[in-house]
C-alpha cells in the first residue's frame, strides 16, 4: 500500500514537471512555429496545470502517514469517483479541437467570473443540504438583496429615482440593509425549521413566497411602480464590474473582482466547516440529529445560525448581481437555488445530510459553468444545453450513490 502511495506521488510530481516543461517549450516555440492562431494560450494553461500537479505531488509527500489512504484506491474506483470531472475534461478537449479559440486565458477568466456568484450561492445552500434540508428561498433572497441595494444606489441625476430625495449615502449602508433583510428572512427559515421541526423544504418554500411578495411590494412602491431599477452609481457598480490587473500585458482583459471575492468567501466557509465547533456541529446534526441532541449540542441555535449564515451569503450574491448588471428587478435570482443545489449535489454533497466538502462544491459549480460556456462556445442550442444539464445532474448523483452503496 505504501509503495502504491509513493507511486501516485511520483506520478503527480514527474507528470506535473513534464507538462510544465512542455508548456514552457511551447510558450517560446509558438511564435517561430506560427502556432499562435492554432493553440492560443494553451502553453500558459499547460504551465499552470503542470505547476498544480507538481505542487500536489510535493504537498502530499509532506502530509502525515494516515492521511494517505486515498492513494491506494484502484484505477476503477478513481474513474467512478471522478466520472463527471473526467467527462468535463473530455468535453473541454473536444471543444478545444472544434474551436481552438476556446484555449484563451480570456475564456478561462470568463468562466471563473460566471462561476463566482453561483459559488457563493452554492456555499450558502450547502449548509441547508448538510443538515439533510434544502433552501428554496435562496434565489428570491438574491432578488430581494439586489432590489434593496440598487434602490438606494442610483445617481442623483437619474430621472426615475426610487427614492427621489435620497442623498448620496455611503455605499455600505444599502449593502448592509440588503444583507440584513436577507438575514431576517434567513432567521425566519431557521426558526420554522428549528422550533417546529418543519421540513426545510416547506419552511423555505413558505419563506420564498413571502420574500417574493414582499420584494414585489417594495419594488412597486411609488414612484417606482415596478419599473426596472437603473441609473446605478458607478462606485457601486464597481463592486461587480471592477477588473484587476487590466492590461498588465497587451490584450489582458483583467481579473474580475468577483473572482477574489468568491475565493475569500470560499476560504472562510471552508474554515468554518472544517475548523470550528459550528462546522462540526453542522455535520453532526446532519449525520444524526437525535444523537446530536443527546451529545448536548444546541440544535436550535445551530439551525438558526445555519439559515442566517446562508442568507447572509445569498444577500452578498444579490448585491454583487445588482452591481455587476448595474440594475435590478424583483425577478432577479429567480431559480438560482436549483442551480446551486444541482452544483452542490454534483460536487458530492449528499441530500440525506452530513456529507459534503467545499472542494467538491467548487468543482460542482465549475463543472456546470464550463459545460454551459463550452456548449455555447460551439453553438449548441440552448434547448439542448438544458437537456444535457439535466442528464449531468442525474448521472452525477447516480454515480455518487452507487459509490456509497458499494459493498
Amino acid at each position: 500500500m505504501a509503495e502504491n502511495v509513493s507511486k501516485t506521488k511520483k506520478l503527480f510530481t514527474v507528470g506535473g514537471l513534464v507538462v510544465l516543461a512542455l508548456g514552457i517549450i511551447l510558450y517560446f516555440a509558438k511564435e517561430p512555429l506560427g502556432l499562435n492562431r492554432k493553440i492560443y494560450d494553451l502553453p500558459v494553461f499547460l504551465i499552470l496545470i503542470g505547476l498544480g500537479f507538481a505542487l500536489k505531488g510535493f504537498m502530499s509527500k509532506a502530509k502525515s502517514e494516515d492521511d494517505l489512504d486515498l492513494g491506494s484506491k484502484s484505477f476503477g474506483e478513481f474513474l467512478t469517483n471522478n466520472a463527471i470531472l473526467l467527462a468535463m475534461l473530455v468535453l473541454v478537449v473536444v471543444i478545444c479541437i472544434l474551436q481552438p479559440r476556446f484555449m484563451q486565458i480570456r475564456v478561462a477568466l470568463d468562466i471563473l467570473t460566471q462561476s463566482s456568484t453561483k459559488l457563493i450561492m452554492a456555499l450558502g445552500i450547502c449548509f441547508a443540504l448538510l443538515i439533510a434540508g434544502t433552501d428554496l428561498s435562496a434565489g428570491r433572497m438574491v432578488g430581494l438583496s439586489a432590489v434593496i441595494s440598487a434602490s438606494m444606489m442610483q445617481t442623483a441625476t437619474y430621472a426615475n429615482r426610487f427614492f427621489p430625495d435620497l442623498p448620496q449615502v455611503s455605499i455600505w449602508i444599502p449593502i448592509a440593509a440588503a444583507v440584513l433583510a436577507c438575514m431576517l428572512f434567513g432567521a425566519l427559515n431557521g426558526f420554522l425549521v428549528a422550533k417546529y421541526e418543519m421540513h426545510p423544504f416547506i419552511a423555505t418554500l413558505a419563506t420564498q413566497v413571502i420574500i417574493y411578495g414582499a420584494c414585489s411590494l417594495y419594488f412597486d412602491m411609488p414612484p417606482n411602480n415596478s419599473q426596472p431599477i437603473g441609473g446605478i452609481r458607478p462606485d457601486f457598480a464597481q463592486i461587480g464590474q471592477m477588473r484587476l490587473f487590466q492590461g498588465i500585458y497587451p490584450g489582458f482583459p483583467g481579473i474580475s473582482i468577483l473572482i477574489p471575492i468568491s475565493l475569500v468567501i470560499c476560504v472562510i466557509i471552508w474554515f468554518v466547516l472544517n475548523k470550528t465547533v459550528f462546522g462540526k456541529n453542522v455535520y453532526a446534526i446532519g449525520g444524526n440529529r437525535e444523537a446530536a441532541v443527546v451529545a448536548g449540542i444546541n440544535v436550535f441555535r445551530n439551525i438558526m445560525f445555519i439559515f442566517i449564515l446562508a442568507s447572509f451569503l445569498y444577500g452578498i450574491a444579490g448585491v454583487l448581481e445588482a452591481a455587476r448588471t448595474a440594475g435590478a428587478t424583483n425577478n432577479y435570482g429567480n431559480g438560482y437555488e436549483t442551480d446551486a443545489i444541482a452544483a452542490c449535489v454534483v460536487g458530492g454533497v449528499s441530500m440525506s445530510g452530513g456529507i459534503g466538502k467545499v472542494g467538491g462544491i467548487v468543482m460542482g459549480v465549475l463543472i456546470f459553468t464550463v459545460i454551459q460556456y463550452g456548449l455555447q462556445f460551439i453553438n449548441v442550442s440552448p434547448m439542448w444545453q438544458q437537456v444535457i444539464k439535466g442528464v449531468i445532474i442525474a448521472v452525477a448523483v447516480a454515480i455518487d450513490l452507487t459509490k456509497y452503496r458499494r459493498k
Partner: protein, 510 residues
Amino acid sequence: MSGFLLEMKNITKTFPGVKALDNVNLNVRAGTVHALMGENGAGKSTLMKCLFGIYNPDGGEIFLEGKKVNIHSARQAMDQGIAMVHQELHPIRFRSVMENVYLGRFPGHMGVVDHKSMYDKTKALFEDLELDVDPLALAGEQSAAILQMMEIARAVDMKAKIIILDEPTSSLSDREVEHLFKIINRLRAQGVAFIYISHKMKEILEISDEVTIMRDGQYVGTWPVTDDKGEKLTIDFIIKQMVGREMTNQFPPREGKPSDEVVLKVEHVSSPLKKSFQDVSFELHKQEILGIGGLVGAQRTEFVEALFGLRGIASGEIYLNNAKYTNKNPGYAKSKGLALLTEERRATGIFGILPILENTVIANQKNYASLGILNEKRMRIDAGEECKKLNVKTPSLQTLIQNLSGGNQQKVLIARWLLTNSDILILDEPTRGIDVGAKYEIYNIMLEQISLGRSIIMISSEMPELMGMSDRIMVMCEGRVTGFLNKGEYTQEKIMALATQFAGHKENAA
C-alpha cells in the same frame, strides 16, 4: 446427500482494511435450532448478511438442500425460504400490522389488494402463534415483542425453511422470551431450522441443538449442545472457545465502598405523561453504582432521559450536590456534570457517517475551541488516548464509526462521555448486544470511574450484570419505584418480584 438443510462453505468477505470473514463454515440441519456465537466483531452478522443476500461474499459457496444457490438480494433469499428477524426492527410505523406482515406480497388480483383476505390470513397466523393483536392496529404502537412475532409470522407465512433470529431476546421480558421459545419449539417440530444469534448463554443452552462458534472472522467449531453421552455443553467451555482464553470472572472485583456523600437527590419526580414514570425518589451517593432494574416498559429509560433534559417533568425536585437542578436540556445537564449513554446506540448514539475522531470529541468540543475555532491536534491526541485506553479496535481515528463492531462503537461512545469529565455517568444498557470480552472491559472502565470519585446510574435488563455490578438496585415497574435492594440482599427472585409488582393490575385493566 450431506443431510444438511443449509451448508455455507468457506465463506470469505473482505471490507476495506478488515477481513470480516475468513473461510467460515456453517451447517444447519432441518428441524433444529442452531446457535451462532462469537464476540462482537467475530463476524456473525456479516455471515448472516451474506446468507441473506445483503452482502455478496468474496469467496465460498452456499448450498440449500444440497443444491448450490447464489443469493444476491433479500428477495432471492426469501424466495429460497430464508427469512431473517433483525435485532432492531424497523416496521412501517404508520401502517397496520397486517400490511407489515404482507409487505411486498399483498394478496390480491391485478394490483388491487384484497384487504379481507389479508385480514383473515393475518388473524389466522396470529392465532397460530398465540398472539392477541388486532391485524388493523398500527405497527408503530406495538411492543418490540409483538413486532418480533409479526416478523416470525411473516416468515411462517412465507413457508420459510430457515429463520435467522438476530439477538431475538435483547429487548424481551422473561415472559415474552418464554412465549418466543414456545413458538420456536413448535416450528422446530414442523421441520423449520433456526439460526439463533445471541450472547445469552443460558438461553442458548436451553433452546439450541447445536452451537457454532466464531472468533475474529474465523470458524472455531460446531458442537452439539448435548453430546452422545448426554453431557451438556458448559458456559465456561463456550466462553473459552469464543474468546480463546479462560474467563474466570464475569465481573471484575469491586474495591472500596460508596461514600455517604449524596451527589444526586431526586424527589417525587413525575412525567407529564400518565403512563410514564411517576413519583420517583432516590439518592445517589458518591462513588456508588446504582442499578435500575425492571422489565421492558418500566419507564427506566424515559426517566433517565428526563433527568438528562431530553424529556420534560411535570413535578418533583432534583438536587445536584445539594443545589437545585432543572432539567433544561442536554447541554445544560452536560455542563452540570451529567453524562448519558443511551440505550439505542444507532439511533441516538453514533454519527455513522462521521469518523471516530468526531464521534469521540463531539460532546466536548468546547474544551478544544477558542472563539469557536477547534484545535485539531489536541482533539486528536485526547481522542487517540481515550480510545487506546478503552481498547477500541480500529485502523485509525479517521475510520467511519459505522465500520466498527457494536462493542467498539459502544467503547467510542463511552470515550465520548469520559472526555467530558462528568461526575455522574448514566449508562442505559451499557453492554447491550456486546460480547463477553468487551463487557468485561466496560465493567472495568465503570469501576475505574468509581475509584476516581464519580458515580454511576446503570440501567440493565441483564440480571447477572445488574447484580454483579450494582452497589444498590432500584427496581421500577410500570413507571413507579417498587423497591430498593442493597448489595448482599438481592436475589433474582426478589428483583423479579418487585419488577412485576403491578403486572397483575395491568392484566386486569386490559
